[in-house]
């Protein structure tokens, strides 16, 4: 079976700096796959290029067999992949529920005209969006806070909310950019459980993370990046003992 996401010779230059260097990566459907690497390895750049937030310098990204490089982010999301952000990008002035409802954007159709006049089918759609969003909140355990302003949540809860919002797009591939950053031990453990639960919903997960314990606990497959290149990959056990990986990390520290 062809992998869900493939990058082929993906390259990204920032001025003179090469953030991604002919990167080949495969993400197989149904797995939890992680990308790790020291700071500046190009992990976030990888996410930005895949999600269309910044253009690639060269190379292609295929999603579900189709080339998605060069497409704007909303088109890429529409094909069934979405992401979270390392530094949170919540809609801070909106309520928790509304944030998730925005996630349902692609799964609904109301336009300027029909919404302004609140046509009957809009009323029905609104109800469906609301009910479904509450379900997502229940899944991540945020339903009690649904009416709170997102910006007022504690940091850990905000991370969870961003995850719920991404889930609401009903993705086939969910890319999580350091979801454990800033979380305490307990929260990280809860997150690990949540990621596994999400995986059971037939959602493929691509995870960029610094927290090795989390990575090793949840991942089916791990790729290691350094200076824009992939230096190793395999199951967590293999990676743990890979020399190149150790060197890359130790070399840094």
């Amino acid at each position: 079976m062809e992998p869900l996401l493939i990058t082929e010779k993906l390259t990204k230059d920032f001025g003179g700096v090469r953030a991604l260097d002919n990167l080949d990566l495969e993400v197989r459907e149904g797995l939890i796959q992680s990308v790790i690497g020291p700071n500046g390895a190009g992990k976030t750049t990888l996410f930005n290029v895949i999600s269309g937030v910044i253009p690639a310098t060269s190379g292609v990204v295929r999603f579900n067999g189709e080339i998605i490089t060069g497409l704007p982010p909303h088109r890429i999301s529409n094909m069934g992949t979405t992401r979270t952000f390392q530094n949170l990008q919540l809609f801070c002035d909106m309520t928790v529920l509304e944030n998730v409802m925005v996630g349902m954007h692609m799964r609904s159709a109301g336009g300027f005209f029909s919404s302004s006049f609140r046509l009957p089918w809009i009323v029905a759609e609104e109800r469906r969006i609301r009910d479904r969003s509450i379900e997502w909140l229940q899944l991540v355990g945020l339903e009690m806070e649904s009416e709170k302003i997102a910006g007022s949540l504690p940091f850990g809860r905000q991370r969870i909310l961003e995850l719920a919002r991404a889930l609401a797009t009903d993705p086939r591939l969910l890319m999580l950019d350091e979801p454990a950053a800033g979380l305490n031990l307990k929260e990280t453990q809860d997150l690990a459980g949540l990621i596994k639960r999400i995986s059971k919903l037939d959602i493929t997960i691509l995870l960029v993370e610094h927290d090795m314990d989390l990575v090793m606990e949840v991942s089916d497959h791990v790729s290691v990046m350094d200076q824009g290149r992939k230096i190793a990959e395999g199951d967590p056990e293999t990676i743990r003992n890979d020399e190149a990986v150790l060197k890359a990390y130790l070399g840094e520290e």
Binding site: P72, Q89, C92, M94, F112
Partner: protein, 331 residues
Amino acid sequence: MTFRSLLRSPYTGFIFFAVLLLLIPLAVTNEYYLNVLIIIGINSIIVMGLDLLMGYTGQISLGHAAFYGIGAYISGVLSAKWGVPPLMGLLLALVGVSIIAFTVGNPTLRLHGHYLAMATLGFGIIVFIFFQELDFLTGGPSGLVGIEAMTLFGITFDSDRSYYYLVSIVMLIILLLSINLVNSRVGRALRAIHGSEIAANVLGVKISRYKNGIFVISALYAAVAGWLYAHYITFISPSSFGFMFSIKLVTMVVIGSLGSLWGAIFGAALLTSLPEFLTVVEDYETVAFGIILMSVMIFMPRGLLRGIEDLVIKIFARISDRSEVQEKINE
């Protein structure tokens, strides 16, 4: 529970407001006050549109007086030169403004922050100059006379009282449409763009479509207001649609409270009627206006409506704190 949800519904406020608006003429017998209310109504229509753009979507426009003017001039010129009836004038004004707004909005809304402010400001000034220079159509700087009074479906709105009802009804319709819009998928998308363009984008919101869409809608609101204005005063001149008026509109939105339709109406009402109250200080009017603008922004940067809200909540909180303390002492 039902009572709470009733209170929470955005439509409860609307119904109260609508009843209030339509009852006002029963209490206000002096047409001069109706005149002030009419101008407030016209201004609130523009300001609501501007608030959808600025407060909800986070895109500043320092050139909205231009759309107000284009709406007024299209219907006004058609009426004064060729006797086109106002309803037809409105239709053509809406078509004209949407074409212009779409053409301008497309490249302009790719800009951000101060660049967007400057571009919209430039657009406003260019349009203003066209009002002045196309004098064979617009009557030039000295203005366009001979615009016919508002006649719709055989009814002529030639008294302040009847015009008040017309403006109120149009305003209520626009308010209702706006309430619908902000509480919908589209409204959430707009606020999402305000919150984080990138996040909205990766959640599937096509940014340009929504920015352009709301820009056109807010321009259309302004055009409707312009149409109401032209057929009310029956005279228009470029000076009513200049840069200073654009600035005034922005201050109405901000002083009222960004991102709140009620704030928009409140801001329009306050800043339109303020000069009427400031006639007391007469010569100091501009100085007072400047001071008010600055102090509101310094002490209530979220706008007056939210500012007052916060203040009242704070006072309530303090009172309840105190009573709690009191209770503890009593214990």
